[in-house]
């Protein structure tokens, strides 16, 4: 078994403490992103998750400036942004995009300032690359415990509120008629979203965090029609993408151009996209075989189509 692993993986993979940290933090981030992200897709709040990730860049850049770990920057900025979104009115369908857009614009403006200050005061740290695209191998061991604790908090929120959230996501009107506190549920959910985005940003960077948040749930929704099962599948796909991404990135150190490993984030996002594509196959296969019972396959869930890259110096 170990021989097989060694044939596939380049030497040093299992003995590196950086890899241990990456594997632990990455798995926690992927599981939480899957559970929380499933509701983001159901609730049509993928854009909010994306915005919270982008704004995390502001927090991460600020954290570099004052010399604390980026996780705390992601978290502080993300929860502040979530609170503002809630106040501006994310609970209304029209207010949702508006609230998200306003907060996103303000956050990215600040990010531009912070990154430029980072480049002035700490020219050698490579803050921009680390914050925007992640560097899970550079996560210090001391971050593991708080990262897992935060992950447990976000997971606890969505597991505890699973049934109410599911009904609110399916139909806010049904939930309100039943007397569920729709607004409070939304606020609690937004907090869980901010935390899970911070963890995903730590793993694959703020800009790519949505890929982990939306990609695996979107793929899982194609594979299962059951809400809980879809979330479990999303978690498995997410953890698979992260672990495989870490292994490939480790191996890529020996790929040409030799001596420069490819970033983990690239592999994770590429794998998520591949999983999403493959997830369409079973249904296509079934509908070819049995004809179409319930015709319209409908629109595929939104994937993070990233055209935009914030222009920041660094």
């Amino acid at each position: 078994m170990k021989a097989v692993a060694h044939a596939l993986l380049e030497p040093g993979f299992f003995s590196s403490s950086q890899v241990h940290v990456a594997v632990a933090v990455g798995a926690a981030a992927a599981v939480v992103a899957a559970a929380v992200g499933s509701f983001a897709v159901l609730r049509g709040q993928s854009f909010a998750g994306e915005a919270l990730g982008d704004i995390g860049a502001t927090g991460g850049a600020g954290a570099f400036l004052v010399g604390v770990g980026p996780l705390w920057g992601f978290l502080a900025m993300g929860s502040a942004a979530a609170a503002v979104m809630e106040l501006v009115g994310i609970q209304r369908a029209r207010g949702r995009d508006l609230a998200t857009g306003i907060v996103l614009a303000v956050g990215l403006g600040l990010a531009a300032l912070f990154f430029s200050l980072d480049a002035t005061y700490h020219p050698t740290t490579g803050a921009t690359q680390t914050i925007l695209f992640g560097s899970i191998f550079a996560v210090p061991g001391s971050t593991v415990a708080p990262a897992i604790a935060l992950g447990a908090l976000a997971l606890a929120i969505v597991v505890a509120l699973h049934r109410p959230l599911l009904l609110v996501s399916a139909s806010p009107e049904l939930a309100a008629a039943r007397g569920l506190p729709v607004r409070a549920l939304g606020a609690a959910y937004l907090l869980a979203l901010a935390v899970s985005v911070a963890l995903a940003a730590l793993t694959i960077g703020t800009i790519l965090s949505t890929a982990l948040l939306v990609g695996p749930p979107a793929a899982a929704m194609r594979l299962s029609a059951r809400p809980v099962r879809a979330m479990v599948i999303a978690a498995l796909l997410g953890v698979g993408a992260v672990w495989l991404g870490i292994a490939l990135s480790w191996d890529s150190f020996y790929w040409p151009p030799s001596g420069h490993g490819w970033p983990v984030s690239f592999f994770v996002v590429a794998l998520v996209v591949v999983f999403y594509g493959l997830a369409a196959l079973p249904r296509a296969w079934r509908s070819r075989r049995c004809g179409q019972r319930h015709g319209a396959p409908g629109q595929p869930p939104t994937m993070p189509a990233r055209g935009r890259r914030p222009a920041v110096g660094g």
């Binding site: 049934r163 049904l174 039943r178 569920l180 319930h294 319209a296």
Partner: protein, 307 residues
């Protein structure tokens, strides 16, 4: 409404009569003098009616008459500017138990994404305990209860299909099951027959009438077209311009009552078992805005305007 007086011990027949009287005096739902203004416009004006336990009541009116607002006031989702809504659970003898009656609701608008990972049976199961914390543990009792409910609304055939890929009539059945599984005493439905073809509409009406009779659930169903409901209605609440007239169909669907409600002369015609509410001759110009109202697609640009 006065509370029933001190208990005597009359003979059986008299007891039954007294019970019936008490049930009428102790309605499940009592709406009294409700007025609602929304955005400066008076949507409901001094609306009063009552629904007794097990009664099948139609809330009839054209689009914009205030039906949805009235249902939202009953649910507590919209506040009334004046008037009261009492939802009082009553026991078999018609005595109030002091508890609020349980209410099920089937909303008018629902747009489930076709790829949403939720089967019909999952949505019905959420009807049992959506307010509870934690993930529902699978149990045989829960599964059987959902199965029975799906069977009761003839939805077993598509129980495992994603809710978003069902037809309008199928989704309607699933939503009715979702509302009924929490064992309500009063079921509110907002325009469940809109957007259904005639056969599906008749299917839903027959289903509701059966469940209402079998389980003793009171039904308050809103519709802009009363004809599919007429065979099963116990009572009718007719809304026009935010005002209401209520009673039995014979009491309400009459030219004099409806003319007073609309504030102009209308005729009530009985044609091949259908009831048509028609504006009086020469009155057309006033009624343009209400075309396409009460009887939906039954008018075809003839001389008279059908309300």
């Amino acid at each position: 409404m006065t509370e029933p007086s001190e208990q005597a011990k009359p003979a059986d027949a008299a007891l039954m009569a007294a019970d019936a009287a008490r049930a009428a005096e102790a309605p499940l739902l009592a709406v009294e003098g409700v007025s609602v203004r929304l955005g400066g416009r008076e949507v409901l004006h001094d609306v009063s009616f009552a629904v007794g336990a097990g009664q099948f009541t139609g809330l009839i009116g054209s689009n914009g008459a205030g039906k949805t607002t009235l249902l939202r006031v009953i649910l507590g989702l919209t506040a009334a500017d004046s008037g009261t809504v009492r939802l009082a659970a009553a026991n078999g003898a018609g005595h109030h138990t002091g508890q609020r009656a349980r209410v099920g609701y089937v909303p008018q608008k629902f747009a489930f994404d076709s790829d949403m990972p939720m089967r019909a049976r999952d949505l019905v199961a959420l009807g049992i305990d959506a307010q509870r914390l934690g993930i529902a543990l699978p149990s045989r009792r829960r599964r059987e209860r959902v199965e029975q409910m799906l069977a009761a609304v003839d939805a077993l055939a598509f129980a495992d299909t994603r809710i978003g890929s069902l037809s309008g009539g199928e989704q309607q059945r699933v939503l009715i099951a979702h509302a009924l599984i929490s064992r309500p005493q009063l079921l509110l439905l907002d325009e469940p027959l809109a957007n259904l073809d005639l056969a599906s509409a008749q299917g839903v009406v027959a289903l509701l009438a059966r469940i209402c009779a079998e389980q003793g659930i009171a039904v308050l169903i809103s519709a802009h077209e009363m004809n599919p409901l007429l065979p099963v209605l116990d009572r009718i609440v007719y809304l026009a311009h935010g005002r209401a007239a209520s009673g039995t169909t014979q009491e309400v669907v009459r030219a004099d009552v409806l003319s007073r409600l609309y504030g102009r002369h209308v005729d009530v015609l009985h044609v091949h078992g259908r009831v048509l509410v028609v504006a009086g001759a020469g009155d057309d110009s006033d009624l343009e805005g209400h075309e396409g109202g009460v009887s939906g697609g039954s008018h075809s640009g003839g001389a008279e305007v059908v309300l």
